[in-house]
């Protein structure tokens, strides 16, 4: 474990992304601000946060689908913004892949779903035994190839499309997988299967997974490390056990409080009010003015104030 800690395969350093639109009336959205973390082989890192907190944006920055406004992303020690030529990009995507959040929009409606496999085979894989490999990948996510292949996207359900994307990612033996709301559309029984498969691949092949989710229980179940995002900032980061057992940032505390326990009556006093959170966070930052992101113990860091 100690050894693994050193060889991080991807290093995110002070990453910032600002969206600007309009020349005369500029509208500025700070989607991600000053986020740093490491990804290590054979570990799952879950990225948790409310809607709009910048999770998908981080994933897209890693995938070079967006250009960072500030900060750096190093893959195997090299800055990925330097990768510009066709061959370099291909090489990068051979090792860094994703499963996107919205399965419906991930398929070109004019083509049969097989196209997603054809593309990766053409670019990255040896076409020998192509069909056999596709069948195997589909079966591993509980899909019947006969009933899925040759269909158009609108003929399949969201869950089926999502599993197709998972199968696509499984075909490639990658270093880094960005899994954005990976199992949001799957039913409980398929979920467990897919999650176990992911954990197994990660441990066996030394893959590093960025597991983006809203669901804290899910994060706890799969991940070795946890990142908590709030309004574009990374507010708490650390080993999953430490963050879940000893949350320090008020937003993290609120998150854990608002998870309903099965078998218990819903406690209204625990209900989470957005204004309350904003207020608590502001108070916390004020109390800790001058402090920034600090390590409170080994493998556990907290953002104490956003004005450092």
């Amino acid at each position: 474990m100690a050894n693994q800690k050193q060889d991080s395969i991807m290093s995110i350093q002070n990453l910032t992304k600002v969206f600007k639109s309009g020349l005369f009336k500029p509208e500025v959205t700070v989607a991600v601000k000053d986020v740093s973390f490491e990804m290590r082989p054979g570990t799952i890192l879950s990225l948790v946060g409310e809607s709009g907190s910048g999770k998908t944006t981080i994933g897209k920055l890693i995938l070079k689908l967006l250009q960072p406004t500030g900060g750096k992303i190093l893959y195997k020690g090299k800055d990925i913004t330097a990768i510009k030529d066709k061959e370099g990009l291909k090489e990068y995507y051979r090792r860094v892949q994703a499963i996107f959040q919205d399965p419906f929009s991930s398929f070109n409606p004019l083509y049969r779903v097989d196209r997603v496999f054809d593309m990766v085979f053409k670019s990255f894989l040896n076409e020998d035994n192509k069909e056999e490999k596709i069948y195997k990948a589909l079966e591993s996510v509980n899909l019947n190839p006969e009933r899925i292949l040759n269909k158009f996207p609108h003929q399949l359900s969201g869950g089926q499309l999502q599993r197709l994307l998972i199968a696509r990612a499984l075909l490639l033996d990658v270093d880094i997988l960005v899994a954005d709301e990976l199992i949001s559309m799957l039913d409980a029984s398929t979920r467990i299967g897919v999650l176990n498969l992911l954990v197994e691949l990660c441990k066996k092949n030394g893959m590093s997974v960025l597991f983006i989710t809203h669901d804290l229980n899910l994060g706890y179940y799969v991940s070795d490390y946890t990142l908590i995002m709030y309004k574009g900032r990374l507010v708490e980061r650390g080993s999953t056990r430490k963050v879940y057992e000893n949350p320090i940032h008020p937003y993290t505390k609120m998150l854990f409080n608002s998870v309903p326990d099965i078998g218990k009556m819903w406690d209204r006093s625990k209900e989470f009010l957005p204004e309350q959170v904003v207020h608590d966070v502001r108070k916390f930052y004020k109390e800790n003015q001058g402090r920034g992101f600090e390590e409170v113990e080994e493998e556990h860091g907290v953002l104490f104030s956003d004005t450092y």
């Binding site: 892949q97 996107f100 929009s105 991930s106 070109n108 670019s123």
Partner: protein, 287 residues
Amino acid sequence: MAAREFWKRHENLYFALTNKKVLIGISIFTLMILLAIFGPALTPYSYDEFAGEGYLPPSKDHLFGTTLMGKDVFTRTVYGLRSTFAVGFIAGTIATLIGCIIGFLAGYYGKWIDEALMMITNIFLVFPLLALLIILAAYLPYRGIMTISIIVGMTAWPWTARAVRSQTLSIKNQGYVNLSRISGISVFRILREDIAANMFSYVFMVYILQFSGTILAAVGLEFLGLGPTQGVSLGLVMQNAVNWNAIQLGLWWWAILPGLVLTILVVSLYFINTGLDEVFNPRLREM
């Protein structure tokens, strides 16, 4: 089996050919084209010839009657229809092409290219075009259908550019474009298979709208006396009628019948367009 496979692949064509509005629109439009092509052969007169007595109401010899001086209104209408189709085709194509290119570049590349192109587009959109046209027309004493078409086409593109830009923006941000990018697909293939292919139906509808829009714009110009100095067109026929106070003199056929032909043509395009909207938009189709 083969037939079923064909319709499955060309689902949109199937829905288009079973959509009532599209069918009605296409039928009328085809009739109009046939009229423009064969009409001149059906009439014994030429459009500028004094074909008979003036002031004749519609009859077997003069289907649409005659003008005050005795020109045959039907002959003038079918020749005019030809020019009108030519204007729609040439000006519509020019406007659609310019609009698509500018809109696509702005939407696809974004940043300063977008800002610059949209600035130009907006200037064109609010510029008093009529003034420009009057000046242009004054400097071009001899104007044919081609000149009119080019003038109209060059000024009708801005809204197309804006519409195509927003369409490009929304397609560019679709997940499938991102998926193709991380699948190592070449930019050219992404442009063709993911972006252009998905814009085809949209551009097609834009073209139909431009076709009818430029026809009406040309008629407007002709009505103001800025039309072609050679040849005849629907707008010119109607302008003559109005200049000679046709309605007040009781020659209703001179003004109304060419206007009716024009209206039917534009309405048929409108039918095709709303029908196709249902075809290309599955949510409307289900109703």
